[in-house]
């Protein structure tokens, strides 16, 4: 069974068709990249998968189960986590709380339990704190646990977004431009990190990225979007040599000149 199956998805905003008839099969445990020029509809595609937008047409299935029509929090609870292109941490809250919030759906404390200080609630809270801190240790963020998220350096904020995503216990991790604004060295480390978390947490990864080196290094499968439409799909090797892709990226002249 595929981890994610997207079939014939379309989304229109007013007169603009942002995503048009996109199909994608994501094999379990694989790393897939979605690439394309700016405004190609990549982030909209993520927003469709995560339930931020509802598709006008088509179906999206997570491990065989359709997730169309679900709210984003429901989608998250089914096992899709994401990071955001323009980092969306809970900026004025401590790092630890950022991670704990991502466990919201897995915790069960209700108002009576909290007010009465029931043992189950206290136990659950201790477990959550332990796991949150463990995850921070895992990503090397433990020293920042009490810091306000806003005050972290940029790259650290990106890593915190990943910790937060992992804390939801995802099966499928969507990364929206994880390498944006990173130095080549940071990008290399990011590549390793993605590989490691995929192994350790049994994840399937789909990422949007502009850094071609990262994309070619990391992904087994690539989908290219242009003006919302899929123009190519295949292995990195196939994509590298696809004239339509080169055209979309560099313009027609580059193709005829080459």
């Amino acid at each position: 069974m595929n981890a994610l199956e997207v079939s014939g998805v379309r989304k229109q905003f007013g007169g603009l068709v942002a995503v048009d008839d996109v199909h994608l099969q994501v094999r379990k445990g694989s790393v897939t990249a979605v690439i394309g020029p700016n405004g190609a509809g990549k982030t909209t595609f993520f927003n469709l998968i995560t339930g931020v937008y509802q598709p006008d047409q088509g179906d999206i299935r997570l491990e065989g189960r359709s997730i169309v029509g679900l709210r984003p929090d429901q989608v998250t609870m089914l096992g899709i986590a994401r990071t955001f292109q323009n980092i969306r941490l809970f900026a004025d809250l401590p790092v630890l709380d950022n991670v704990l919030i991502a466990m919201h759906g897995r915790l069960s404390a209700g108002i009576p339990g909290i007010l009465l200080g029931r043992r189950k609630v206290r136990h659950e809270e201790r477990q959550a704190l332990g796991e949150a801190y463990w995850l921070l240790e895992y990503m090397g963020l433990a020293p920042y646990a009490n810091e306000i998220a806003r005050n972290l350096p940029y790259g650290t904020q990106r890593r915190l977004e990943m910790v937060r995503a992992l804390a939801t216990h995802p099966k499928l991790l969507l990364l929206d431009e994880p390498a944006a604004g990173m130095s080549p060295r940071e990008t290399r480390e990011l590549t390793e990190m993605i590989h490691r978390i995929r192994e350790d947490f049994d994840l399937t990864v789909v990422l949007i990225e502009h850094d071609m080196k990262l994309v070619m290094n990391i992904s087994e499968h690539i989908l290219v979007l242009d003006y919302g439409r899929p123009i190519a799909e295949g292995t990195p090797e196939e994509i590298r040599n696809n004239p339509r892709v080169i055209e979309a990226y560099l313009g027609r002249a580059a193709v005829s000149g080459a």
Binding site: F13, G14, T43, N47, V52, Y53, F84
Partner: protein, 319 residues
Amino acid sequence: MIPQLLHSLPQVLVDGVTLGAVYATVALGYTMVYGILELINFAHGEIFMSGAFIGTAILIGLNSAGWLGHLPKLLVLLLTLAVAMGLTGLLGMGIERVAYRPLRNAPRLIPLISAIGVSFVLQDVVRFIAEWRTGNYIVTGVTLYGAELNLGSLTVKTNTLIVLGAAVLMMAGLDLFVRRTRWGTAMRAVAQDKDTAALMSINVNRVIALTFFMGSALGGATGVLFAQQYGTIDPYIGFILGLKAFTAAVLGGIGNIRGAMFGGFVLGILEMFASAELGPLTGGVLGAEYKDVFAFLILIAVLLFKPEGLFGQAVKEKV
């Protein structure tokens, strides 16, 4: 019941359209500011109220100086409108400068809070001046056009025609301004995307100030007309009226100028209908005292079922 309904319908329509004209012009101020800043300018109702007091003050002043009888009425009206518009326009600009501009990048809650603050300050300052000068904060003004036309069961005040005419002229003027002039184009550009507009060498701050000036001037002028139409004003008229004008703006699709006008008229007619017919229709169980409730229910219904309004476009949030 039906014949009685039909009998009173013309009067309801005339009164409703007049009230609607007031809502519509005030709604323009809300919609313009929201369109450009995505901010509910809570103080707009108070700007309307200030306009009503400024106009009334001018007329009372002219009257006690004994000039009112000697000048042509139309000239007096135009003069009053012009002064009130100028002053309320500047007031609006000042409010933007002091209470909103420093907060443009603050969390969304914060400018709303300072907007409430501004509206409270205005209410109290006007209350103070009115009470100080006249001994009472409820003020009855000078009516310029007091005559009434009787057409069978239908009574139309001359003033009603003036209110309608002036409101329609102002709305048409604004519509032309926004669509046809360079400044209007700049306004639309800033409403679309402030950053890009700034790159296109549009002075965003100046456009926003102009928007506040125009919206507030329209609100102030409506205040003058309102005082003419209904005679008695107090510093708190802006609150409920502002709420309803905002409802009108939402009904027409917030940010949409023509929508706001349409929403204003719809709301005015519905409200007049409710206040005239709710009693008879429900056998006296509910009466005109529930007309404000009625307007509010419309607001909730629109927000629930068609939050983008009748003419607005669904806005997508940037993720």
